[in-house]
Symmetry: C2
Subunit: 137 residues, 2 copies
DNA sequence: TAGAGATAGTTTGTATTTCCAACCATTTTT
DNA sequence: AAAAATGGTTGGAAATACAAACTATCTCTA
């Protein structure tokens, strides 16, 4: 078991822990993990259906129906791109933004007990190391 | 934005990155992320249906059908607990163990480019910090 | 520049995942 | 011994996902 293996192991376990928290909080607002992610992505930008699908690794048809449902709930809106009539842009409604913000707070609160035991230096270190891991390989 | 917020942010993004890898590798073996998790859990122990459900945050009925499907594929087996006739214990078949092992290797390989840029000391640090985060709060 | 091909999304059909409620079988409690 | 609790399974409904077929728009090329 190399150090890299240990890290992979810890990353996978962390993933499931965090996913559990996100799934629970999403569920409390009747949102799947995927919908939660879409709201997270659209918080600070608008995006095309296909780009969202590619980014999330989903089929565009899946993305399409997912958006329709979120739209019915009033969380996001679709609009045609004036420069290219084929393109549909998706962006949040005020209600969607509000919900995204509220859930973000809940996630922070839910994970606070996890980060709590770390001191300032450890937090900085961990953030830096995770950024390294996240950097496109 | 506090340091803890930065860490939560990085944790969430890491979660989605790792989940993407796990979903892809699972999918290549026709397994959902949840099924992958079940195999991961049962690798080194047997478990009851309800315990698995509780651990994964799923309804026991969900767990039940999931197990039936995995059983049909020959990945795991169910057996009655002789001490308590209600209890069903679930454990891996040799084929299930083999598949779990193969996927674990694949996950390590898939994440290697992520851990690659880190030197030995950074790997040790990251593993240690993630363990702190994972420690039951 | 007209027609072929490519691109962006939606729709339709199917399988899977998940929940909830109802149910059966087996303990455990009273 | 009857009632309550526990452990699982089954059935019904909604959500999620993919693939294939389709529509509309744009781009390229002959």
């Amino acid at each position: 078991m190399t150090a890299a293996d240990d890290v992979v192991d810890a990353l996978v376990r962390t993933t499931f822990e965090v996913a559990r928290v996100l799934t629970r909080i999403g569920g409390e607002h009747d949102l799947s993990l995927t919908q939660l992610r879409v709201l997270g992505i659209l918080r600070d930008r608008r995006a095309r259906v296909t780009d969202l699908a590619a980014y999330l690794g989903l089929d565009k048809s899946t993305m399409s129906t997912l958006i329709v449902r979120a739209q019915r709930r009033g969380l996001l809106t679709r609009g045609k791109n004036p420069d290219d009539g084929r393109v549909v842009e998706v962006y949040m409604t005020p209600a969607g933004l509000e919900l995204a913000k509220r859930m973000e707070d809940e996630v922070r609160r839910a994970l606070a007990p996890r980060t709590g035991p770390l001191d300032q230096e450890q937090l900085d270190q961990l953030a830096k190391l995770l950024e390294l891991v996240l950097a496109r390989p």
